[in-house]
Point group: C3
Chain length 350, copies 3
């Protein structure tokens, strides 16, 4: 699995300083890199990492070049973190190329499905009637693509994805194992103490370059579609309710829940375990902290948070008990202020 530093710079660019023959066995974090590893330091404020790392070579920004060359070979590039991201992609392609595409004989492909060029279909995958699988797409083992669904070019469904009837995903997408796209939205009309199902007649439309994490669920819309725009990245175990719209290039960490009909702008981030209530609108560029609950629309870009600060349990118990009387404390404080104001007035009266 060894490559030379010259191979890497040849493929990915950057300015190589030092020997092109430097052997690289592995890409590694700066703290644990060893003498045949390549690592990176992304920012001037981490300059001290340069003196400590054992790496064979380091990818650095121009501002660290002088320091880096003192310790050995380096690659200079404007954005080392971005460089490293692309390097991981190249490394994977070179060392673990995808096997040649084939339709596994154990897959169940409906005769009316339209399968593009170079499509790979794993064992026990099921592709429904009139489904369309774009050129170069890969449908993993046990994945189920519903009838009339469309999977764009070079999109990859990992093993055991369910991609429901009529749902659509664009090009270059990735859906991880266990994700369920297009289960019914949660809609019921109350009737004499019971719930009457509202059939979910919409579907899910997903843009290009979207990544969806393991066991994440995106429900189909009630009447219209649930929409995930281009470039959105969703981590694992996220719930996206029916008729939600997630704007382009927004990203959400694991365990987020977004309730029905919420509209999230472009370039937003939502931290792990946060909850966005239904029928709200978040402007572009809103960042929600982990575990926060969005209970109202947010019209202004910015960083928003709401979580109870963790504490040792005994302190928490006391503060939580006081919190249940906070409004009363506020009223008492007001009474105190008035008493003082009154006393002060009396004292200053002639």
């Amino acid at each position: 699995m060894s490559k030379s530093l010259g191979d890497i710079v040849g493929a990915l660019g950057g300015t190589l300083i030092g020997s092109a023959d430097t052997a690289i066995d592995r890409l590694a974090p700066v703290a644990t890199a060893t003498a045949r590893d390549l690592t990176f330091v992304s920012h001037l404020r981490y300059a001290s990492q340069l003196t400590r790392t054992q790496a064979a070579a380091v990818v650095v920004p121009p501002g660290l070049q002088a320091q880096a060359v003192l310790r050995g070979p380096c690659v200079v590039t404007d954005d080392p973190y971005l460089y490293f991201a692309r390097l991981t992609q190249w490394w994977r392609r070179v060392h673990e190329p995808l096997p040649a595409a084939q339709i596994d004989p154990l897959a169940s492909v409906h005769p009316d499905a339209v399968i593009g060029e170079g499509v790979d279909v794993g064992p026990f995958a099921v592709i429904g009637a009139a489904a369309q699988i774009g050129n170069g797409a890969r449908v993993g083992a046990h994945a189920v693509v519903g009838k009339n669904a469309r999977v764009g070019e070079d999109t990859r469904l990992h093993p055991r994805v369910v991609f429901g009837d009529h749902c659509v995903i664009g090009a270059r997408g990735v859906i991880h194992s266990g994700a369920v796209i297009g289960a019914d939205g949660f809609g019921f009309a109350p009737h004499e103490g019971t719930w009457v199902k509202i059939e979910q007649l919409g579907s899910v439309r997903i843009g290009d370059d979207v990544e969806i994490g393991a066991n994440t669920c995106i429900d189909r819309g009630a009447l219209e579609d649930t929409v995930i725009e281009d470039g959105v990245k969703l981590d694992n175990l996220i719930q996206i309710g029916h008729n939600v719209r997630v704007g382009a290039h927004s990203a959400m960490a694991g365990c987020v829940g977004v309730a029905g009909s919420a509209v999230i702008g472009a370039h937003c981030t939502v931290g792990g375990g946060a909850v966005v209530l239904g029928h709200l609108t978040l402007a572009d560029g809103v960042n929600i902290s982990a575990a926060s609950v969005v209970t109202r629309s947010i019209a202004k870009p910015g960083h928003y948070t709401g979580m109870f600060p963790i504490d040792d349990n005994a302190s928490w118990e006391k503060n939580a008990a006081s919190l249940k009387q906070l409004n009363r404390l506020r009223e008492r404080l007001k009474a105190v202020e008035q008493a003082i104001a009154q006393a002060s007035e009396q004292n200053t009266r002639p």
Copy 2:
């Protein structure tokens, strides 16, 4: 996919005012309905929607009839939301009828399983020994029904459901993709710093008319069964611990966690992301807000909430820091009150 308004009223009732020939291509939300769509306005307080909608026809309550007829055809019914729910069911049946039931030749059905009349079993489904599948039930692709499990009449397991050994679900249920019914409850005895597994010998018993969302988990009981009563509706990614009981017609939104042995009454609702701790009892008719944590039993019906209000991050940081001193603030307030009382007493002393 077009139907006439007359077809719809013929099937679902209501009073038609206007032309029965009005063509309906789609059911649509009031705000986005176009000239060949049917929509609804559920309540007098939304009357202004009537004047703005482009819909071909509107389902309205009697109190909106006069206004509705001014703009065109309408269907008058006591509960338009309920009417619309039933209409979605009819629309789905008419436009997308289920395919004829068949046992897919690629399914694995144990010879001792008992399969009812008109049962559909998808490709790669697995049905275990002595399992019973009721008349008209549908077992989706990749679904696994364990040995001795029972699936009631007309119940539908979507693709890739796991329905474990000995578990039971009644009639007309729906379980969405990825749900796992009957995994082991989380039970271990501590022993010298390690955990000794408590085998989970109970199962899961689910009533009639229950809907269970995608990737939701309901664990089997430790010694007795976990019980989900009739008419319960569970959204996606919910965790129901072992020996929980969920009362009839209760509903929970996505990402809720209910810990072991909690007993939730009938007609309760639990908002998304809420947590119910173990061994608690919630009375009938309790409503828990999203993201709230139920830490004690609740004996009185009503609406309960506990979540930190979201704020801009800078404000949150200040308030959260103060919160960690809240009990101390309360003591300081008390001291202030005493000082004032004392001062006042001295002033009024003769």
Copy 3:
């Protein structure tokens, strides 16, 4: 399914007092046990349960022996809860032994996979190239074991587990249905408003005696591996981010989220729905309450909590509104204190 009390004590030890012929049909909780059931009382403080239970026999600690014999047969042992755990294991083995191991003819096993002795592989399971399955391991229906993955001896993958390429689990593990081990960690470099994927080149390494719940996800590491040490127990629907390390014998309840690169010590517990942010370190022996958010490293063993106390909704609304002004209240309190101090100073001035 009946066993005698003598059979049980013969297999599991303990001191039998009363008739060895006592018939036991079922293991049952103390409150609902009936006349042919065996139950247990784990602690002196539950002594009153002894007088009320209808059980045929009771497992008790030495301190309850005198009381227990007054009501009938009992088994005396130092740790009845541990005894009962082992009893459930024995009961399952005796009443529901695993079927003989076989490679189901409907499984897809790569010719280069290395399958041990006595391995069971269910229908539609997929085992990839160069995967190694240890002696006595069981791979359930629809489970997918990736290429070059290793499954230890006697480890059991329940139906529909995804165990990714290159991932490793030790001996005697249990992974429940729907769990996804080795999906990509969530890593992207920002670039001109879009996200560039960081390929996740690490894998997941899991020790011996680990249990992983249904639909739980453990992501593969970015450059190095995600590590779950021996004896860890994870409940359902848990998210473990890339490069997390969970120390030996730690346990987490359902719906927990652990963000990337967090390091959790040994013998920790994390309550249901809690969130641990990324790049934090928790010492050994830390206990996090349910639904709490760990926002900072914790160096000291102990019990930590942070959650908003639940209340009736009207009270919550008032207190939450006040909370958003808490820092301002604190400043007002300080002003009041200063006013009083000043007044007092003036009063005592000669």
